[in-house]
Structures are given as structure tokens and as C-alpha cells.
């Protein structure tokens, strides 16, 4: 367990998925902030400056890609690590996400929760 827990922001409109992610991450000792749309997510990101953001794409109010774009336009958000987490695996979405320096792009249903957490740990260099 790390001495100071890493902060992870979840932006996911599906409450079940969000809570599953939260549960999984909290079990691994992360500090988790859970939000359910792009606007909330943007506000939370600004407030908490998370070590890593897991962001869905299709969401109400503001979609994930717009949110990512807006984060990248702020001074505080330029270097935030963002992983896109979605079920939309088409070219346009992927390239849009990568253009705005999303760190990774996961197709949710293809991944086990543990695999995703593994990837997060790898990124945040947490053992």
C-alpha cells in the first residue's frame, strides 16, 4: 500500500460500472472520486487534480471527449493522465482521444476489472 494514496477520478454515467470500478480501485487502496457526467467530471478534475482520470465517452450533459478537450485547454489540466474507458471502439473516437493525449483507450467489455487496475498500477508505478 502506498503511503499517500493515489487519487483517481472516475467519470462514468453508468452507476453500476462506476461503483464496480470504485469498489475495485478502493480495494487496491486508491482514493476514488466518482462522477457521472462530463460537467461533474470537469469540476472534480479541477478540484481534486487526480493522479489519473478514467473517463467514459458517451455521457449526458458533456461527453468524455469534450471534457478531455476542455481539460487540455486549462493550465492545470495539460499534464493530467487520462484513460478513456468506453464501448465505442471506432476510429474517429480513438483518434480524437489520442489527439488530446488520452493516455490509453480501453474497450470496457474486453477487459477484466483486474486487468484495468493492473494497467493503472503500471502507469502510476504502484505495486
Amino acid at each position: 500500500m502506498p503511503s499517500t494514496p493515489k487519487k483517481i477520478l472516475i467519470v462514468e454515467d453508468d452507476r453500476i460500472l462506476a461503483s464496480a470500478l470504485r469498489a475495485g480501485l478502493e480495494e487496491e487502496g486508491f482514493e476514488v472520486v466518482e462522477t457521472h457526467d462530463g460537467l461533474e467530471g470537469l469540476a472534480a478534475a479541477k478540484k481534486y487534480l487526480p493522479d489519473l482520470t478514467l473517463c467514459d465517452i458517451s455521457m449526458p450533459k458533456m461527453d468524455g471527449l469534450t471534457m478531455l478537450e476542455q481539460i487540455r485547454q486549462t493550465t492545470w489540466g495539460q499534464y493530467l493522465t487520462v484513460m478513456m474507458l468506453t464501448n465505442l471502439n471506432d476510429k474517429e473516437n480513438i483518434s480524437l482521444a489520442l489527439k488530446n493525449y488520452a493516455f490509453r483507450y480501453f474497450v470496457k467489455s474486453d477487459w477484466d476489472l483486474s486487468q484495468i487496475i493492473q494497467e493503472i498500477k503500471k502507469e502510476l508505478k504502484v505495486k
Binding site: L17, D90, K91, L113
Partner: protein
């Protein structure tokens, strides 16, 4: 002088006539001219003789020829009036008489002694001479009787004109020529008879030229054209030369040369002009028979359109014959009328002509052109109204056009020629030949028309059917698109809750609180497994919908180590592999570099390996290998020793949602999409997927990927080097 000119004309006339000795009339006419020749020649010699014995000799010479005059003349009249059959006896008698007098004329009982008079001398007629004169007059009267009778009964104006010229010609000969007998009875008379052959030949030549008497034309026509061409060039040239010679003698030689060349250059044009002139006004039959037929055949062959067939034909015929009128009538079986397809120069009172079909058939029963001008006797049962009508419109030639084995289908009607010359033998031959050609073309055209009609009908049907099919196809396409969209959306929507189940089951399976018993955990595992299958199925359906909507795949090509991807796939399938105790022989090096979409290619391996695993027998092997094919592509192979694919299902194996019979028995849950998707992925990489399979022995699945790049793999580079050496 007169006599010599007469002789010359008569000789040339006889030659001309002999050239066309096809018919009896021509032959007889030739013999008559021979007699005239002998007569004039003998008479001339007799008149210019001074000794008595010479006079007697030449006179007997003349009589030897002249005795045949009555019989030949009479025969000629029969031939011209076509009544020869009924007068055999009189003719036979005439010839017998001529032969008897041939001998008698040489005796003293015929002529004896000399009668000298102011302009010559003649032997004196004796007892037998009177019989000869009697027969001469008798047959001359019969001759004119025949001709006049024929003249009166003749309907054709043209034939009447011909007869007129015969009558005038022979009247001159018999009456004026007859004066040659007067000195025999001691009556002195100026020998004007010597000029009669000249008058006769002029009259007959005129008739020949204008009315096609006895089918002669070639020599007269050509010689006249050349004669006038030469004269029209020579006369001015002569005048110019004379002028130059008189006033500028120095320049006469070069002037002559220049004029010579001018004349030579102008000659063809002059000749052409006279040809055209004579074509139009003198002889209408100045055409080359073979060339005409050839041209017509070419035109006829070029068209399948009925109207065009006749138009092109008529164009040529008008140029050849210069007829005053040409019309084409087409018989409409439905209405029983003749429709005018084409008409120049005829004055038909209506567009549909009522010529009784049966009568026309009877008239034209021989299938040959009918010269109404020469129609001897109308066939029995022929409707006179038809002939009256044809006469009223001034038709001269009727040409039947038959189709389908002598069925009269059309009529070509020709009016008189502009030159008023009659249609000659050649013209009729041309028309006959043309009629059969037109018949064939017409038959083709009619056939073509019916085929076209049928085609048109067929095409309409096809257009209708196609339109219907198109509409159906369009609605099917829309339906299909809607289906694909539905699948796409549904799959997306399904994925989220399925992910929820997956992750939550995973969290539960960790059993952090240790409050789940084994049974519960087992249920959870099964739930998870079932959910995983569902996720894969949804994923496959999503792929299919992408393929079907034409979006194909989003292929993100890059270099990747294919061996790593294979290892991942093997890891994912490790459960089934270990359950079935399968031995995996992987011959693919982990550092083999490949150009393509890593995730998609991995999916292909996933599908192939999971199939191989599913259908392998327990404790058997699965072999993964690759080879390089001609430096162009890599061929990968997944080999199993499983149940194989039944031969009859080989061609369906890549079909969407298809599952081999034995496969469904082995594994109840497959979707039948795996191979379809695998092939689509490989094709999107411009590769191909294929297989070899023997039931119960196993299956080899192959797929190829194009080789585009330098390989990091040392083995491959080595092979490449070897090969390039």
C-alpha cells in the same frame, strides 16, 4: 454514191443486229439485211456493167438473193406480231416457193435478153418472172396486212410506234425498191431503188435508237458518244490550228502540242458529258449491268429496314433507267390493299390501292418482271380492271417481289423511260435479278422486324421486372441496413450491462470477506463464463454489422510482434487447452514482426485457435507454424487433429452464421461468425484465409498476410539473403 452509202449502212446495221441475234426477229432481220446487201451490190454491178453477159450474170446474182425476200419478209411479220404458230402452212409454202425460184431464176425462162435504157440496163422478164412478181406482191400484201392488223389491236403506244417504223421502212423498200422490177418489163425508170436501203436503214436505226427495237444499243451508243466527243474536240482544235498556221506560222508547232495536251485532258470530261447527255435524252440503258447489280447488292445488304431497302434500290434504279415513274407497293395481308411505300412520278388516286391480289398473282405467276408494253395476251381469268388501272397510271413494267417461296409481297412499278425508249432485255434481266435480291432482303427485314418486335416486348418485360426487382432490392437493402444498425446499436447497448456483470462478478469472485462458499463461488464462475460468451457474441455481432454496413473494420496498421499476440491468445484459451490436455506446438518465433492491426489479427488467432481447441480430440496436438511464400507473403497455419469438416460443407464454412453439423454436436454455443469475421479481417489486410480438412483426421487453417517490410527476425533475413543470391 447513194448505193455505196446504202451498202455501208446496211452492212453496219446487219452487224449490229447480228450482235443481238438472240431472238428470232433479230435473226430474220439479219437475213433480210443480207439480201438487201446482195441486192444493192448486184444491182450496182449490173448497172455499171457494159457487157451483156456481165449484166446477165449480176442480174441472176441479184435474183438468187431476192427470191428469198417474200418468204423472209413474211416470216418476219409473223415473228413481229407473234402469230407465227397459226400460219405455218403459208410460211412453208413461201419458203418452198423461194427455193424453187432460186433454181428457176437462173434459167432463161425467168429472164432473157437485155433491155438498155438511159440510166442502165436490165434483163428482160420472161414467163416465169410473172409468177415471182405475183408471189412477191402477195406476200408483201400479207406482210403489211399482218403488221396493220397487229397495229390496230395493239394496246401499247410504244409497240404501235415500233410497228409504225417497221411499216414505213418496209413500205419504202417494197414500193420504191419494187421499181427495180420495172426495167425488166422494158419500162425505163431512174434507179432510185438504190437509195431505198439507205432510207430503210435510217428509219430502222432511228427506231432502234429511240424505241429499243430489237435490243440493240451497245455499238450505236458507244460509237456515237466517242464520235461526238472526238468531233467536238477536233473541230475547235482544227480551227485554232488553222488560225495559228495562217496568221502565226512560227507558233504552229508549240500550239499544236499545247492543243494536243488540252484535248487529251478534256477528252474524258467531254466523253462523260456526252454519256450523261445520251443517258438522259437518248439511251436510258447506259449502265454496267454487273456494277449495277453489285451496287444494289451492297445497298440491300446494308439495311434491315424495309423502307430503306426500297429507297436505296430505287435511287440506283432511277439513275440507271431514267424512268418517268417508279413506285413500290407493299401488300398488306390484313387489309388486302397495296400500300405505297415509295412513289415518284405516278399519280395514284389514294394511298391504298385496290389491285386484286389474286389477279396480280396470276399476272405475275412466272415471278418475272412483266412488260405491260409487250403483254401479248392477258392471262385468262385476269381482272381487266387491274390492267385498266395500270394503264391509266401509265405503268410499263411490273416487277414482282416474292418472299418466302414465291409469296408475292411487293410490286415495283416502272413508268416509261424519260427517253421513251423501251425497256430492253438487259433491263428486264436487271430487274429480275434485283427483285429476287430485294425479296431476300425483305424477308430478312421482315424477320428482323418480328424479332425486334419480340425483343422490344421482351425488353419491356425485363424493364418492368427489373424495376420491380430494384424496388424490392431497395427495400431489402433498407431493411438490411436497418437490421445492421439495430445490431450495432443493440450490441453497444448490450455491452455496458454485460461489462457491469463481468466486473461485479469478478469483484465477488475475489471473495474478500470469505463469506461465500464453494458452491456459490462455482455458480459465480459459471455466471461469469456465460457472461464472457455473451460478450464475445455481442462483439462478433458488432463486427458483422460493421462489415455488413460497409464500414468494414477500422484497421490501424502498425508493426507488431505476432508471436506476442499469439501468446496472449493461448493464455486466454489456457483453460480449455489444459482441460483437453492438448499439446501446443508453436513454431512461430516471438519476435516475428508483422504489419497489421494487432487487435484484429489477434482476433483471427483467437478464432482459429479456439476452433482448433474446441474441435480437437483430447490428448491431441495443435501446431502453429508459418512459412514465407515467394518473398511476397507470410502464410500462417493452425493445424489440429480433430473431427475435421465434412467435405460437403467445405464451401459453406466461411458463410455467416454457418456451423458444420459435427461442430454443433461438439460445441453447442458457437455463433458461426468466427471464421466469417476472421476472413473479413484478413481480407481487409489484403490476405486470404483457406483450409484443408479431412473428417476425423483434422484440419489445417491457413491465412496469408502480405509481406511489406524488413523483418527483424534473423531467420527470415537469412532466407531472404540466400534466395537473393
Amino acid at each position: 454514191m447513194f448505193s455505196l452509202l446504202s451498202l455501208f449502212f446496211i452492212i453496219s446495221l446487219s452487224i449490229v443486229v447480228l450482235k443481238n441475234s438472240r431472238r428470232l426477229v433479230n435473226g430474220l432481220f439479219f437475213l433480210l439485211t443480207i439480201i438487201l446487201d446482195l441486192w444493192i451490190f448486184g444491182s450496182f454491178m449490173m448497172i455499171s456493167s457494159t457487157y451483156d453477159n456481165q449484166i446477165v450474170f449480176w442480174d441472176r446474182f441479184v435474183y438468187a438473193a431476192v427470191v428469198f425476200w417474200p418468204s423472209l419478209q413474211y416470216h418476219f411479220s409473223l415473228a413481229v406480231t407473234y402469230t407465227d404458230r397459226q400460219r405455218r402452212n403459208l410460211l412453208a409454202f413461201a419458203y418452198t416457193f423461194s427455193f424453187i425460184f432460186l433454181f428457176l431464176s437462173q434459167t432463161d425462162l425467168f429472164v432473157q435478153g437485155i433491155f438498155h435504157y438511159a440510166w442502165g440496163a436490165h434483163t428482160k422478164a420472161q414467163f416465169l418472172h410473172n409468177f415471182f412478181i405475183g408471189a412477191f406482191i402477195f406476200y408483201a400484201v400479207l406482210f403489211f396486212y399482218n403488221l396493220i392488223k397487229k397495229y390496230k389491236s395493239e394496246m401499247s403506244a410504244l409497240e404501235k410506234k415500233r410497228l409504225t417504223y417497221y411499216i414505213i421502212g418496209f413500205l419504202v423498200l417494197d414500193v420504191i425498191g419494187g421499181t427495180a422490177f420495172l426495167p425488166a418489163y422494158s419500162i425505163p425508170f431512174y434507179p432510185i431503188f438504190l437509195a431505198t436501203p439507205l432510207i430503210f436503214s435510217l428509219v430502222i436505226t432511228y427506231a432502234i435508237v429511240y424505241f429499243g427495237l430489237m435490243d440493240i444499243k451497245l455499238i450505236i451508243r458507244r460509237s456515237l458518244v466517242y464520235f461526238f466527243s472526238v468531233i467536238s474536240l477536233l473541230v475547235p482544235a482544227y480551227i485554232v490550228i488553222s488560225y495559228v498556221y495562217i496568221f502565226h506560222p512560227f507558233y504552229s508547232a508549240p500550239a499544236f502540242v499545247i492543243l494536243f495536251f488540252i484535248s487529251i485532258t478534256l477528252f474524258p470530261r467531254t466523253k462523260g458529258y456526252f454519256y450523261r447527255f445520251s443517258n438522259k435524252y437518248l439511251f436510258s440503258s447506259l449502265y454496267d449491268f454487273n456494277e449495277l447489280i453489285y451496287n444494289l447488292n451492297n445497298r440491300l445488304r446494308a439495311s434491315l429496314d424495309i423502307k430503306q431497302i426500297f429507297e436505296s434500290t430505287i435511287d440506283i434504279l432511277l439513275q440507271a433507267f431514267h424512268s418517268q415513274g417508279i413506285a413500290v407497293l407493299y401488300y398488306e395481308e390484313k387489309t388486302g390493299y397495296w400500300t405505297i411505300l415509295y412513289n415518284v412520278g405516278f399519280n395514284f388516286d389514294s394511298n391504298k390501292i385496290d389491285l386484286q391480289y389474286a389477279t396480280m398473282r396470276k399476272l405475275l405467276i412466272a415471278g418475272k418482271p412483266l412488260d405491260l408494253g409487250r403483254l401479248r395476251n392477258t392471262p385468262p381469268l385476269a381482272d381487266k380492271r387491274v390492267l385498266t388501272y395500270l394503264k391509266k397510271i401509265n405503268a410499263e413494267i411490273l416487277v414482282p417481289v416474292n418472299v418466302e417461296q414465291k409469296k408475292l409481297s411487293s410490286l415495283l412499278i416502272f413508268g416509261p423511260k424519260e427517253s421513251e425508249e423501251a425497256y430492253n432485255h438487259n433491263d428486264i434481266r436487271v430487274l429480275e435479278s434485283i427483285a429476287s435480291e430485294i425479296g431476300i432482303s425483305l424477308e430478312n427485314a421482315l424477320l428482323y422486324r418480328s424479332v425486334t418486335k419480340f425483343n422490344l416486348k421482351l425488353r419491356n418485360e425485363i424493364v418492368k421486372a427489373t424495376k420491380k426487382l430494384k424496388e424490392q432490392n431497395e427495400s431489402l437493402k433498407q431493411l438490411d441496413k436497418a437490421k445492421d444498425e439495430f445490431i450495432g446499436i443493440a450490441s453497444h447497448q448490450l455491452r455496458t450491462p454485460l461489462t457491469g456483470i463481468r466486473w461485479l462478478a469478478e469483484l465477488l469472485l475475489k471473495n474478500k470477506e470469505h463469506n461465500l462458499n464453494d458452491k456459490q463461488l462455482n455458480f459465480l464462475r459459471q455466471l461469469n463464463e456465460s457472461n464472457q460468451k455473451m460478450i464475445r457474441l455481442v462483439s462478433d455481432l458488432l463486427d458483422v454489422s460493421h462489415i455488413e454496413t460497409g464500414r468494414k473494420f477500422d484497421i490501424n496498421k502498425d508493426y507488431f510482434y505476432i508471436g506476442d499476440a499469439i501468446s496472449e491468445v493461448l493464455k486466454e484459451n489456457v483453460f480449455l487447452i489444459s482441460t483437453k490436455k492438448l499439446k501446443i506446438i508453436n513454431k512461430i518465433p516471438s519476435d516475428l514482426n508483422v504489419w497489421g492491426d494487432r487487435e484484429k489479427i489477434k482476433q483471427v488467432w483467437q478464432n482459429l485457435i479456439s476452433n482448433a481447441t474446441k474441435y480437437s480430440h483430447n490428448n491431441s496436438e495443435i501446431e502453429l507454424s508459418f512459412k514465407k511464400d515467394r518473398e511476397k507473403q507470410l502464410i500462417f497455419c493452425v493445424r489440429d487433429y480433430g473431427i475435421g469438416i465434412p467435405a460437403e460443407q467445405h464451401d459453406k464454412i466461411f458463410t455467416k452464421f454457418f456451423r458444420a453439423n459435427n461442430a454443433s454436436l461438439q460445441d453447442g454455443e458457437g455463433t458461426g461468425l468466427g471464421l466469417y469475421i476472421a476472413r473479413e479481417i484478413i481480407r481487409a489486410h489484403t490476405g486470404e484465409v483457406w483450409f484443408e480438412s479431412v473428417p476425423q483426421k483434422g484440419t489445417r487453417f491457413y491465412f496469408s498476410l502480405p509481406l511489406l517490410t524488413v523483418k527483424k527476425d534473423k531467420k527470415i533475413t537469412k532466407i531472404t539473403k540466400k534466395k537473393t543470391k
